[in-house]
C-alpha cells in the first residue's frame, strides 16, 4: 500500500521551497518577465539549485546527489506549480530519470551539483508509450533532424537525444545545434524547436536500454507533473476562495452565494482526490514499483483536467478581473492547459490504462449493417 501522506522531511522541504519562492518569485515578477521576453528566471533557478540542491534530490548519494527521491521531487513540483515558477526543474527531472535508467554517472553528477543542466530532446506533448524519433544518426556519430516543442531546452547545457536506436548526449552550444524559441501557450515553460545538422554526439545508451530510458523518463514526467498540477490547482482554489470572500455584489460577499460555494466545494473535492492520486504516482515512481506506469497514467488522466478546471473556475469567479492581463489567473490557466497536453493528453493516458488494467477497446469498429 503506497504512502499517500507527506512525512516531516517532506513538509520541511515544502516550507523551505515555498519561502524561497515567496521571496523571489512573486507572480508580479513572473508576469513582468513575459513582457520583457525573458522566459527563465535564471537567478531563481540558481537559488533553487545552489541553496536547496533541487537538481540533486533524485540523484543517489554515490553519484553526487542528495539521495532523497521522487517523492521529494514531487513536493518541490507542487510548490513550483503553486507559484507558476519559470524554472526548468521538470525538464531536469525528466532527464535525471533517463540518465538513472542508463546509469550515466558523469552527467548525473554534473546535473546533481548544478554544474550542467540537461534536457531530454523530445517534444513535450509526447506520451510515455509513443516516442517518435525524428533524428537520424550518421557515423561519428553525428545527429541530423529536428525535434519540435522541446521544454526546458533553452536552459540546457546538454541535450539527451533519442536518435536511431540509441540515446545520445549533445552539447547544446555546438554549432551543429540550433534552438529556435517557440511562442508558447505557457510562456513560463518556454519551448524550443531543436534542429541538429550533423551535430557531434556521444552514445549514452543503445538498443532496448535507450528505449526503456526514454519511456521511463516520460513516465516520470507524467507522474510528477501531476504534483505540479495539484499545486497549481490548490493555488487557484485558494486565490478564488480569498477573492469571493472579499468581493461583494448585491450587498453580500459573492462567496455567500450558494452556486459559487458549491462550485468551489466540488473543486475542493477534486483537488483532494487529485492530491491522493499524485502522491500515489510519486510514491510508486520513487519505489520503482511495477505499477509505476499505471499510477502515472492514472495521475495524468485524473489530475490534468482538475488543474484545467481549477484555473478555469479561477478565471470565471474573478469575473472581468480574471480575464485581464494584469491578474495572475491567466498564468495558471496557460500552464494548466499546456500541462494537459504535456506527456500526452488524457485520452492517451486512458488508453494506456485500458491496456494496463485489462479493459480492452472493442475489437473492431462495428460496420454499418446496411
Amino acid at each position: 500500500m503506497s504512502d499517500l501522506l507527506y512525512d516531516s522531511d517532506e513538509e520541511a522541504l515544502r516550507d523551505t521551497v515555498r519561502a524561497l519562492l515567496a521571496a523571489h518569485a512573486p507572480w508580479q515578477r513572473t508576469l513582468a518577465r513575459l513582457d520583457d521576453g525573458e522566459p527563465y528566471d535564471a537567478a531563481l533557478w540558481t537559488r533553487l539549485v545552489d541553496q536547496l540542491g533541487v537538481t540533486g534530490l533524485a540523484v543517489p548519494v554515490e553519484y553526487g546527489g542528495a539521495g532523497a527521491g521522487f517523492r521529494e521531487v514531487a513536493v518541490v513540483l507542487e510548490e513550483l506549480g503553486r507559484a507558476v515558477a519559470p524554472v526548468p526543474f521538470l525538464g531536469v527531472v525528466v532527464a535525471t530519470r533517463a540518465l538513472l535508467a542508463c546509469g550515466e554517472r558523469e552527467l548525473l553528477g554534473q546535473l546533481a551539483t548544478g554544474e550542467r543542466d540537461v534536457a531530454l530532446a523530445v517534444c513535450l506533448a509526447t506520451a510515455p508509450d509513443a516516442a517518435p524519433r525524428p533524428v537520424t544518426v550518421a557515423p561519428g556519430p553525428v545527429l541530423t533532424g529536428t525535434v519540435t516543442g522541446v521544454a526546458d531546452a533553452l536552459a540546457g547545457d546538454v541535450l539527451l537525444v533519442p536518435a536511431g536506436d540509441g540515446l545520445y548526449a549533445v552539447n547544446a552550444a555546438d554549432r551543429g545545434v540550433r534552438l529556435t524559441p517557440v511562442v508558447s501557450l505557457d510562456a513560463t515553460r518556454p519551448l524550443a524547436d531543436v534542429a541538429f545538422t550533423g551535430a557531434p554526439a556521444r552514445l549514452v545508451a543503445a538498443g532496448p536500454m535507450a528505449a526503456r530510458a526514454v519511456s521511463a523518463a516520460l513516465t516520470a514526467g507524467a507522474a510528477l507533473l501531476a504534483s505540479e498540477q495539484v499545486g497549481l490547482a490548490q493555488w487557484c482554489l485558494d486565490a478564488t476562495v480569498a477573492h469571493v470572500r472579499d468581493r461583494r455584489q448585491f450587498g453580500r460577499p459573492i462567496g455567500s452565494f450558494q452556486a459559487v460555494k458549491h462550485r468551489l466545494a466540488d473543486l475542493w473535492v477534486e483537488i483532494t482526490e487529485a492530491r491522493a492520486v499524485a502522491r500515489h504516482a510519486a510514491d510508486r515512481l520513487a519505489a520503482g514499483h511495477p505499477e509505476a506506469s499505471l499510477a502515472a497514467a492514472l495521475a495524468q488522466a485524473y489530475c490534468a483536467p482538475v488543474a484545467v478546471r481549477a484555473a478555469e473556475v479561477c478565471v470565471q469567479l474573478h469575473g472581468g478581473l480574471g480575464f485581464t492581463w494584469e491578474h495572475p489567473a491567466h498564468l495558471y490557466l496557460k500552464r494548466a492547459k499546456s500541462a494537459a497536453v504535456a506527456f500526452g493528453t488524457t485520452d492517451r493516458h486512458r488508453a494506456a490504462l485500458a491496456r494496463l488494467v485489462d479493459l480492452p477497446a472493442p475489437a473492431e469498429v462495428p460496420d454499418r449493417a446496411d
Binding site: 513575459l34 509526447t126 511562442v183 510562456a187 519551448l191 485581464t324 490557466l333 485520452d347 477497446a361
Partner: protein, 385 residues
Amino acid sequence: MSEHTADQLRGLVAAFLRTHDPRGDRVGFLRARFDAGLAWVHHPPGHGGLGAPPQLQAVTDAAFAEAGAPDNRPRRNSIGLGMAAPTLLRHATEAQCRRWLRPLWTGEEVWCQLFSEPDAGSDLASLRTRAVRDGADWVVDGQKVWTSMAHEARWAILLARTDPAAAKHRGITYFVCDMTAPGVQVRPLRQLTGEAEFNEVFLTGVRVPDDQRVGAVGEGWQIARTTLMNERVAIGGRPLPREGGMVGVLARLWRERPELRTAGLHEEVLRSWVRAEAARLAALRLRQLVAAGQPGPEGSAVKLSFAELSQRISGLEVELLGAEGLRYDDWTMRRPTEPDLLGRTATFRYLRARGNSIEGGTSEILRTVIAERVLGLPAEPRVDK
C-alpha cells in the same frame, strides 16, 4: 404591423437598385438605402424603415446582398446596431432619433457602451459614476470598464447616477455621451489573450447636454434593461448553417488531419458536435418564434450554450492538436476592431472563449435570470434593499 409582403419588399429593393448603383459611392448608397426605408424595415418611416414585419429584414438584406450591394459592416458597430439603435427607437425623442440613427446605421458613427464599472461587476445597478445637473448640461465623473470599441467610437450610451439618495435601481439616468468631448479619456485594457480588445474609460468633468439624455431622469435602469435584453439577442441571434460556428473549425481539423485522431477524442468531438447542433437548432427555433411574433425567453439559453460550447470546443481543439496546442501566435498587445476568432490559433480561441461566460452578463447571472424570470422561482433574500 403593415401589410408588406416579401414580394413587395423584393420589388422595392429592385426599384431602389434601378436608381442607385450598388458599386458607386459606398456611404452615399447606404444613406439612400436608409432614406428609402430599406435599412431597418421594421422601423417607422423616417427612421430607416417602412413599418414592415421584422421577419422581412432577412429578405431585404438578402436581396441587397444578391445585387452585390455594400453592407454597413455590422461587426464594427455591434453595440450601435444591437443595443443603441433599438433603445433609441423605443425611448429617445424624435429629434434624437433623427440625429443619431442614420449615421449609426450607415456606420459613419460607431457607438460604444459605458455601463460596466470596476466595482460594480455583475451588480450593474450599484454603479457609482455620477452626473450632476449644471444648467443645460450634466457634468459626469466616474470610471467605466470593459468598453469595446471606445477608441473608435463617436458616441456612447452611458449610465450614470443622478440621485445618490434614491434606491439603488431608481437613481440612474440614461445618456448619450460624445466620446470626443473634453474629459473623456480612453485607455486600452489588456486581456489574457495579450490583446487589448476592451478599454477603460475615465470621465472627468465631462459635460453632457440635457438633450442627450434618453428617457426621464431616474429611469435609466429600466431603459438599460431593454438594452441588455437586446444585447443578449444580438449575441445569440445570428442564424448559423450547420457547422457554422466554432464546431466547424473542429470538424474540419478532424477531417483533414487523420493522424491526430484517437478513439477518446473521437467521442469528445462527436459529443461537442451534437451539443453544437442542438444549440444551433435552438437558436433557429428562437428566430422562427420571433418571426412568428412569439418571442420567448430562449435567447438566454442560446447565450449560455454559446459560452459553454465555445469554451468546450476550443479546449478540445487544443488537445486534438497535441504538440501544436502548446503554441501561441502572438503575445504582443494588439488593438483589434473586429473579433477574429477563426483567423488565429486554437490556443487564442481557447483563451478568448473564457470571456464568453463573463461578458454581456456572466453565465451565473443568466442562470439566475432564467430561474427567476422564466421558471418563476423566488428571489434570494435581498440584503441590499
